[in-house]
Amino acid sequence: MNGASAARTVAVIEDLGFTDVVSIPDGESRHLHQALLDTPDIEVYSPTREGEGIALAAGLWVGGRKPLVILQNTGLMEAGDALRGCGIGPSIPLLLLVGWRGYPGAMAGTSPVDSAYPYTEPLLRAWELPHRRLLSDDDLGVIGEMAAVAEGTSKPAAVVYGYGFTP
């Protein structure tokens, strides 16, 4: 349980046919972000905020592309209106890869607990976004699983990663 490898995660993303990644960099996703930038067949866009990124991804999808959105849980909180308006409401099947800031500390029992930690899964449930946890390479199959859920339901779905990606 020490995080998935960026290289293996990129291989999964490529195999699933994602054409674009909208990624707002954060510490936990930095190796994944760089690995994606090094992948010539995937376009990477870094908007300035997460709500902007979700709207950008929605436009890509409406135009026929297959985007993946990478954002931290804090950014997910910021992007609520865009997620509602550009994902849930219009039935756009965006897959979100959500960094779970605060998870490692909470699991280690450190104090204080990051206030971003406890709201992440309840928030996803409140939005009725199905999600699975990604904690190591053993869990990489959940990306394809949730991508299928998004496409099957025509709604956004999420994969929540608890630890930073390793190179």
Partner: protein, 187 residues
């Protein structure tokens, strides 16, 4: 100087052929008075301030097709970072027309911060082709090139409105998306 917004819309509708036109806020109420096209997209209630972000994504996905975004200055202030992203990734087929009325018209006309210079902000954000067009004669002269020449373009249009606004039509969001994708040949 300023232009009557409906005159701007009439001029655009008269020149428009196969471009996607994305509208938001009060533009969604008046654009249908001059246009009924499969590639019209009503972004109302899709996300505060994000019409041009959506348009950017669509333009990146469909490089063969011009994407025109009609958005207001109040909406832009809700997502100013959009200009930075447009400056970084904006493709040649994106045209953003900023309807500058210096107010939040949709919510009752509350005034914006009065000293904001949207041309300067866009240039500072890295958008290369930025201009301000103040009158209808100049707009009609420039419109053909804005619709055909490579951008991305960001154009500030000072507008007023003296026409009564039609009521908001709350159409289904998913149906709007299906209609646009069908217009693009994707459904």
């Amino acid at each position: 100087m300023s232009m009557e917004r409906l005159d701007v819309f009439r001029a655009l509708a008269a020149r428009r052929t196969a471009e996607v036109v994305i509208t938001t806020m009060t533009a969604t109420l008046q654009w249908p008075l001059v246009s009924s096209h499969d590639l019209d997209f009503d972004f109302l209630a899709f996300g505060m301030g994000h019409a041009s972000d959506f348009g950017l994504g669509l333009a990146l996905a469909r490089p063969e097709r011009k994407v025109v975004v009609l958005k207001g200055d109040g909406g832009l202030l809700m997502s100013l970072g959009s200009l930075v992203t447009m400056g970084r990734y904006g493709p040649p087929n994106l045209l953003v027309l900023l309807l500058e009325n210096r107010s939040y018209e949709m919510t009752g006309g509350q005034p914006l911060a009065p000293k904001v210079d949207f041309v300067a902000i866009a240039r500072g954000a890295g958008v290369d082709k930025v201009e301000r067009i103040d009158d209808m004669t100049a707009f009609e002269e420039e419109l053909p090139s804005l619709l055909t020449e490579p951008g991305p373009h960001f154009v500030v249009l000072p507008v007023t409105n003296s026409e009564p606004l039609p009521p908001v039509a709350h159409t289904d969001h998913a149906e709007r998306v299906v209609r646009l994708r069908r217009g693009l040949g994707l459904e």
